[in-house]
């Protein structure tokens, strides 16, 4: 079965931002550390949307608790966390209360991949709000690849006219200048101990 698109949290936040910070979407947690990833999602949303982001656990919240949580306040961003998975009955009861959950701020459903089927089968009203907006939490990106690191080292070496090894020797002897390019050079060589 084809899978949904993998997107880093930054891009997901960007999608919500261009919508004017409204609407619903689903982010699937493929495996890995549910809590850490949720913290990162929350931080990224906060950075891009420039508004507070709250996490609300769907289980074991009641109708009253959820309604209150989603409307007080109404316009921040909320991540509704489904944890490791929700039972069909829970999806049915969430679906019935869809109107009570509607709000002006964005809603991100943070779900286990198995929950997509339950959402489709037992929560058609909520599914209708989401449209095609399903994303698998992808790697954060921005992490410098090995090729990029090597390219940068090459540029530094060519510009200053000496090799990485010479740069390290100079640093060890206290002869390397303290300009920020040399600091970067040492960091990229994993010689932060010489900084």
């Amino acid at each position: 079965m084809p899978d949904f698109e993998s997107q880093p949290f930054f891009q997901i936040a960007r999608r919500l931002e261009i919508r004017g910070g409204t609407g619903w979407l689903v982010v699937l947690n493929p495996a890995g550390d549910f809590t850490t990833d949720l913290n990162e999602l929350q931080t990224e949303l906060q950075s891009v949307l420039q508004k507070p982001v709250r996490v609300v656990e769907l289980e074991p919240s009641t109708f009253e608790q959820l309604r209150e949580a989603l409307h007080d306040p109404d316009d921040d961003a909320v991540v509704l966390s489904g944890g490791p998975g929700l039972a069909p009955e829970k999806w049915r009861s969430l679906d019935i209360m869809r109107s009570a959950m509607e709000r002006s701020g964005p809603v991100v459903l943070w779900l286990a991949p198995t929950d997509v089927a339950n959402l489709a089968n037992f929560a058609p009203n909520i599914r209708s709000l989401i449209g095609s907006e399903y994303f698998i939490a992808g790697p954060d990106g921005g992490i410098m690849t090995e090729a990029e690191r090597q390219e940068r080292l090459k540029e530094l070496s060519e510009h200053f006219g000496f090799t990485d090894e010479v740069a390290v020797r100079k640093a060890e002897a206290g002869e390397l200048p303290h300009d920020p390019e040399f600091v970067e050079w040492l960091v990229l060589l994993n010689r932060g101990d010489l900084v």
């Binding site: 919508r19 019935i96 209360m97 489709a120 009203n125 209708s128 449209g131």
Partner: protein
């Protein structure tokens, strides 16, 4: 809600253009806001709302159901009906989304009346205050409102716990000896349920009569519009919740327009017995793109979507939506979002196909092999057996769309991704 972007389109930055588009294509925006902003095509369902409103106005006490699938535009039709009624001048229309007010899962007899009574009472009291009605009359109305509010939301009562004479006198237990008061909450109809008692409904009649008399004194009739009841996907559950309340409302000559689940029309067993209780059941069908493509496309145009949707792309979105209004709006928005994050200046066919694919996948998830076989058969033969509950489920979850009572099709976005069986080798 972000502020509207009002500069002429030629002067808007790329970001502003997309932002303005997104504002217009928000599938979660309240229907009332879209109507106010002039973004709704009132003739999309051939002015069905006028039929609803007209009968409710001309036949006090009439009861009509509006039945349609998820995302078919029911709330919009109801609000348009309410607005039309208001415009007549001789009707007090009251709109209520019951599912927003209370947990429908625990709804029982009396709940609709309670919600209606609170809304009506509030309106009547406010009107009396504005008219500076005589104080006795106003007081009576306020008491009636308080009574119905208590019925709806419950109350806190103080109950005396009598002293327990056999207990030893102990300073820490003094209050047990002397007796004391406790506060207890008595739940109401719109809170977790009480046992169903038919006589409960009679409690509401007196305050409701009070309000209705007040409204009718100004030569108005009351029409109540109940939205959200379609969320009770099961027809039997729907009926068990509403039938007593609706019976009383008919006696009170209050016209009712209510949404109901599709299973009322297509469910096994209960459908006909429910239908017989209503003066009219309106079926808000899915709009077929081959005959109403221009109308559906005008939905996009109305929201000024064509600026980012060049050429015939609006029709592609219409095709993939299957005529489901909310899917139409979602696809239009999602495609724009895709174009934006991909750094394009307008939506392309690839963007639309990508989001349609995602939409199809979201419908595909959770389908077993039998369901897929049913859908493929429907696509090939255009026939589906709705006497089977599992097939009605496909309807309720929008994998199957109803264009009329005899025209059923697989949602086009789903059809585009559904796995076909390997052809058998000779």
């Amino acid at each position: 809600m972000p502020s509207s972007i009002a500069a002429p389109e030629g002067q808007l930055s790329r970001r502003d253009k997309f932002r303005a588009y997104m504002q217009a294509f928000n599938p979660t925006a309240p229907a009332a806001e879209m109507i106010e902003a002039g973004r709704v095509c009132e003739d999309l369902h051939h002015y069905l709302f006028r039929n609803l409103a007209g009968r409710a106005d001309l036949e006090p006490g009439s009861q009509q159901l509006l039945v349609g699938g998820v995302g078919s535009g029911k709330t919009t039709e109801l609000l348009l009906a309410g607005r039309w009624l208001l415009g007549q001048g001789n009707v007090l229309p009251l709109y209520l989304d019951v599912s927003a007010e209370t947990d429908l899962a625990s709804l029982n007899a009396g709940s609709l009346l309670a919600a209606f009574g609170v809304l009506l009472g509030g309106s009547v009291v406010r009107d009396a205050e504005a008219r500076a009605a005589e104080s006795d009359r106003l007081q009576k109305l306020k008491e009636a409102h308080a009574k119905i509010t208590e019925y709806a939301y419950g109350k806190e009562v103080k109950r005396r716990v009598e002293p327990m004479a056999t207990m030893a006198v102990d300073p820490a237990l003094m209050r047990w000896v002397q007796g004391y008061f406790v506060s207890e909450k008595v739940p109401g109809k719109l809170k977790p349920p009480l046992p169903v008692l038919n006589r409960d409904l009679q409690v509401t009649q007196s305050p409701l009569n009070e309000f209705l008399t007040s409204v009718r004194e100004s030569s108005k009739d009351v029409v109540v519009i109940f939205d959200g009841l379609d969320r009770l996907l099961d027809a039997a559950k729907f009926w068990s919740v509403v039938h007593q309340d609706l019976r009383l409302l008919r006696r009170l000559k209050v016209s009712v327009i209510a949404t109901a689940p599709l299973s009322v029309l297509f469910g096994v067993g209960v459908g006909q017995s429910i239908s017989d209780h209503f003066d009219k059941i309106h079926h808000l069908t899915v709009i077929p793109s081959e005959s109403a493509g221009a109308s559906l496309s005008s939905v996009l145009e109305r929201r000024r979507g064509t600026g980012l949707l060049p050429g015939l792309l609006p029709y592609t979105i219409v095709e993939f939506s299957g005529g489901v209004l909310r899917d139409l709006i979602s696809l239009a928005r999602d495609a724009a979002e895709e174009a934006y994050v991909s750094d394009r200046d307008s939506i392309t066919l690839a963007d639309i196909e990508k989001v349609a694919n995602q939409l199809g996948n979201s419908y595909l998830r959770g389908l077993g092999p039998e369901a897929i076989e049913t859908l493929l058969k429907l696509a090939g033969t255009k026939s589906i057996d709705l006497s089977k509950p599992e097939n009605v489920e496909l309807l309720l979850t929008r994998r199957v769309l109803e264009y009329s009572s005899t025209d059923f099709r697989v949602h086009p976005a789903l059809l585009s991704v559904i796995p076909r069986p390997e052809p058998k080798r000779a």
